[in-house]
Symmetry: C2
Subunit: 340 residues, 2 copies
Amino acid sequence: MSVTIKDVARAANVSVATVSRAINGHDNVAEAVRLRVLSVASELRYSPHAAARSLSSRRTNTIGVVLPDLYGEFFSELMRGVDQVARERGYHLLVSSYHGHPEEQGAALRAMRGRVDGLLVMSPYVDDVGCLTEHLSSSLPAVLVNTQLHNGEAASLSVDNYGGAMTMMQHLIATGHRNIAFIAGPDNNFDARERLRGYHDALAQQLPDATPWVLAGDFDEASGHEAGKQLLQSALKPDAVFAANDMMALGCLFAFNQAGLDVPGDIAVAGFDGIPLSRYVHPSLTTMQVNIAHLGGEAMNVLFNAIAGTGNSESQSLRPELVVRESSGASNKRSHSNTS
Amino acid sequence: MSVTIKDVARAANVSVATVSRAINGHDNVAEAVRLRVLSVASELRYSPHAAARSLSSRRTNTIGVVLPDLYGEFFSELMRGVDQVARERGYHLLVSSYHGHPEEQGAALRAMRGRVDGLLVMSPYVDDVGCLTEHLSSSLPAVLVNTQLHNGEAASLSVDNYGGAMTMMQHLIATGHRNIAFIAGPDNNFDARERLRGYHDALAQQLPDATPWVLAGDFDEASGHEAGKQLLQSALKPDAVFAANDMMALGCLFAFNQAGLDVPGDIAVAGFDGIPLSRYVHPSLTTMQVNIAHLGGEAMNVLFNAIAGTGNSESQSLRPELVVRESSGASNKRSHSNTS
DNA sequence: CTGAAAGCGCTTACAG
DNA sequence: CTGAAAGCGCTTACAG
């Protein structure tokens, strides 16, 4: 059917060993022979069979990426960084999602054997972690992204959600807010938990007399909208709302807009993530900007170090950046820039 | 290092052939034996080596996805549909980008041999097409997405950009606009070309006396902003602007907003794509909604048919849907729904 | 129902 | 510098 190394060898009048060496750029091939082999190969439109090559060489030149989902803002941005580094190194990307099903995550992880040289895994849900340790083979280098797991086997990289939440609280407090409500994310999600923890600790430290005010949410816009409406109905309104992510902050913002409230005049609103939308809504949204592409790229670098056997597998933490915009009082001109 | 089929065979006291049959669910294995093998396998945490399996079975259970880029709105949405169908069928996804470099596209395509059972390729740039035909092996089923290529070898699926542009023009004309400018996309991009062609033909057919007014753009927001400023400076302003995609429409919209123009009062603005942002900007943007996830899913279905040998490899075309919003005169209440 | 053996298409010591 | 041969870890006719 398709042309193999044997066909090339026959046509070039050499052994398959020589073809292999020529194709792979080994230097123990006579220049004339090398040229002949290469020309015959391209004439025959030969390209090596990856599975065969992987089987004998024990390398796949592929990185496996296992994520909860393969779409959306976060995934897209993560891939930007991941893809760039992969390309620089000439690696392919095998992606797999498990949609929050621990069994599928395990299956995906195991299916990677013989397909990849290393694994980039993101597992933000509490329930998935047992499964993770279970199926993470020690024979396959791995790097964990935004995953709370300290088994020491794999390197890990995450966003400093706790510190980011603290920073945002400091900003809100510094700009005079005293009654700050928090819209939480899913409580089985590590990022959400850390952000909530930051809210609580900042409050305890800087506003010891204030009572925490936490509303439930699930990271979706609708839940932020719901929380916003709930706040509108409460007798004593907060003077600021901090949502665990931007989508909920936007939902909340819309609820306030619909009710005719002045943001930030009546209530300030802040989010977390720094999604593109946050710049475009009206009023533009104050947020903690997370550089997700950078996170992905760094994770890949760490992974390649692990594959090479160099590098310490210590955990790294990426600090998000405070971006102050109109929703918490930045100057009210419509602008494209991140006024930080 | 890692456990192989031999280890399982030894531990279960059977031949590797029997292990293979048990693992793969063949029915010619005694029930008792099957159970024993499976239990031993799971005890040993055995998972088959994919490369070895692929080499002997000639199947990879993987689909190769070759795209210009691995990030952004379009990619993300396409993946939503692609991923879902892949999961339903138990397939993995090997993704590869070529960033507009024809050579890299060729390399990516060739590197897929032995890695995948079929190829989903998107190649929207005119320059890449020669390369495509060159490297698309006839031994590997492929489906082309939004790619202008009629070699009959591969099935193809695309968005009806031409018809969509016509529809939008009809809408603008029907709502009383007579002087409609068009912001074009990159002229080496098929989608952009088709949308431009739709603009021209609609004008010729329905407004035969009007002179086409085309501004250059590159699909980026900045170029739309630029085009908008250019329009503001012209003596005779258009009464509507139709941009070849939403990002440019938004850029143009911002230019008009900054200049204090009333949209749609002074000028109507319309885009193409239906990106999420289009609903959220102010005023919300009238656009041709393209269901990209659906496109991806359908492409996968067509591909699986091709792999199975069933199915005709005829080209299909997906019709985008007109979504009328504030920017072309829909009622001015802030709303989350697609008023269509 | 089970096993011995060939073979998938490569790579890589080992000789020469 | 080159080739014959073993081997990577599976699957699958072929016998029995």
